[in-house]
Amino acid sequence: MAIPDDTFEAYLRDAVLAAWQVPLRKTPPAEAAHAEHGGGTPARPGIERAQRASRDLLAAHERGHEVRRDRRREGRRAGAVAIELRLVHGQARPGIAEEGRGNQFYAEFDAHKFTVASTLASSIKADVFRARARNYSSAREGALFYDDVR
């Protein structure tokens, strides 16, 4: 059973934990973002945009659930990730959302492919270097038999 809220709050009020209190974690997200950026000044536009995007995404998810409830049995709502992604990224079928907004889901990956590839290349280079430095015949052998110290 979870610890009751009042018991948990009593733990947190203990003087021993005073130095470990993190006020931001107990604040609603919008206020936390505001406080994080100075408290007395408005939250940065980027934060506000992110919050708006979150609300839009949530609304899109809710619409997706509604459409899905109409089109399929109630039980299929659970885990309806794909239909939501299609809705948010403009890939839904006619009747669910407008077509033609492009394949944004993959476009996001495509737009960052060199960043991803650069990170991957660095990681692979590090794996190969470590395996050679430790006298493994290959990075794969080094990964599979890391406790076989040479």
């Binding site: 059973m1 659970a78 885990g79």
Partner: protein
């Protein structure tokens, strides 16, 4: 190393059932084309269950009976004892894992919910890791008792397989059977086929860097992704 290569070769040689299943999914979901994210949608109605923690332990332990009395009794005592931080709690992280330190019992962190049937599978999965650790600690010195993830997932996913077999054998409910069979197929796709695709990708990428005797170029790294694409069948 041979096991790794054989796994890739075996999966590649048996992709036709995957393509048939993806085509079935495409038709059932009414899509013109199927994408990777479409594979996460259940194609049979979800099931409503109410399974308490003790009932989940009973099911898992009964399903694992083929692994022997010692296995079942040790795991049962651990689960009903203090091996598992089982329920959600304020500030507790999501997900589940099994962890240990040498010379101590394994511990499971999970967030069991009685109305989420997959949590019974999560328990079986993490129990596999914990018992793997328990046996490893008793047969290996500290230097070699740990195991790579390639080996770790054998114990955990095998337990899930045993649980599926047990549940299918012990239910007459058609909706439940359909759910279990669909789950089994999706598990095979996600655990055996997809993970092997990742394994092949990493093998090719690292071998390319090792052969090149110079740093892997960024465009080259970007192109490697296409090397393992056939394994993903018609998902893209």
């Amino acid at each position: 190393m041979n096991v790794y290569d054989n796994l890739i070769a075996s999966v590649r040689a048996n992709l036709q059932p995957l393509y048939r299943y993806l085509e079935l999914r495409r038709r059932v979901l009414g899509l013109k084309e199927i994408h990777a994210y479409d594979t996460n949608v259940p194609i049979v109605p979800n099931i409503e269950t109410d399974v308490s923690w003790d009932e989940a332990c009973d099911k898992v332990l009964a399903a694992l009976a083929p692994l022997g009395d010692e296995y079942v009794q040790t795991l049962g005592a651990g689960l009903r004892g203090r091996w598992c931080d089982r329920y959600e709690n304020k500030g507790k992280r999501s997900g589940a894992f099994s962890s240990s330190s040498y010379g101590n019992p394994p511990f499971i962190m999970m967030n069991y919910k009685r109305d989420v049937f997959t949590d019974v599978y999560t328990l079986a999965h993490e129990a596999g890791h914990s018992m793997h650790t328990w046996h490893s600690q008793r047969t290996q010195p500290f230097q070699t008792y740990d195991y790579p993830i390639f080996l770790a997932e054998v114990a955990s996913t095998f337990n899930e397989e045993l649980l599926t077999h047990y549940l299918i054998e012990h239910t007459e409910d058609k909706a439940m059977r359909a759910y279990l069979i669909n789950r089994q197929i999706d598990d095979i796709r996600a655990t055996v086929i997809r993970q092997t695709m990742f394994a092949e990708f990493e093998k090719i990428a690292h071998a390319k860097e090792e052969r090149a005797n110079r740093s892997l170029s960024i465009p080259s790294a970007a192109s490697i992704a296409s090397c393992s694409r056939p394994t993903s069948g018609r998902t893209s």
